[in-house]
């Protein structure tokens, strides 16, 4: 289902599993990055490697996108062909996440206005908070070349 919905492909597809969905409201997802993952294997050479914060942000963004797609599909609406683009991000990192950790994101749609969706997320490893992230995202404009009208 994830690969059917999200346009992301390996190695950039980060969401491994959808644990829970509340249509139009919240999604809980999981990712686990192996030690030899191209984005973490040399970050920074420790054992195990440390997951970069930017990947946690991307994980949240993909989860938010998945929430929108599942919600649209469930409601019978058409799937938005143009991908979402991150417009603003605020994040605070409070604990490390490492390769091979089961990283869980609880992502909630907290607001939407003028075509921009605001999501708040808590990312955890073994129920210990790793980071809090807030993202603003909108749909890519036509001039980005995706071409298909919504």
């Amino acid at each position: 289902m994830i690969t059917d919905l999200l346009p992301h492909k390996a190695p950039w597809l980060l969401v491994d599993e959808v644990i829970r969905v509340e249509i139009g409201a919240m999604i809980t997802t999981k990712m686990t990055l192996p030690r030899d993952n191209i984005f973490v294997c040399s970050h920074f050479g420790g054992t195990p490697p440390l997951v970069p914060g930017v990947l946690l942000i991307e994980f949240v963004a993909q989860s938010a996108h998945l929430l929108a797609l599942i919600s649209a599909q469930t409601s019978g609406g058409g799937l938005q062909k143009r991908p979402p683009l991150l417009a603003r991000c605020k994040s605070s990192f409070t604990a490390p996440a490492y390769a091979e950790d089961e990283i869980v994101a609880i992502v909630r749609l907290s607001n939407k206005s003028m075509g921009v969706y605001v999501h708040e997320a808590i990312v955890s490893v073994r129920e210990k908070q790793v980071c809090r992230i807030e993202i603003f995202a909108g749909t890519a404009p036509d001039e980005f070349g995706y071409g298909v009208a919504p």
């Binding site: 417009a87 607001n111 003028m114 605001v118």
Partner: protein, 76 residues
């Protein structure tokens, strides 16, 4: 009906812009002087809703051109 002071509104604008807006007055123009863009306006709407529980209708957002307009919209 919410009432709002200029210092408090300045705080909200700072959150929305994600930077210090500098000196502001009621006449300060949001786009031309304070540097608001579309995302900043969304952040402004979100922050106002968080602080005051007031939701500014989307159709009214393009009419917010000055700091005074924001106060009027909140207190309406």
């Amino acid at each position: 009906m919410a009432t709002i002071s200029l210092p408090e509104l300045r705080q909200i604008i700072e959150v929305a812009l994600d930077r210090d807006p500098g000196d502001i007055s009621l006449e300060s123009r949001l786009y031309e002087q304070l540097g608001f863009d579309s995302i900043g306006m969304v952040a402004l709407v979100v922050e106002i809703q968080r602080r005051f529980g007031v939701r500014i209708p989307e159709l009214e957002v393009p009419n917010l051109r000055t700091v005074q307009d924001i106060i009027v919209a909140i207190e309406a």
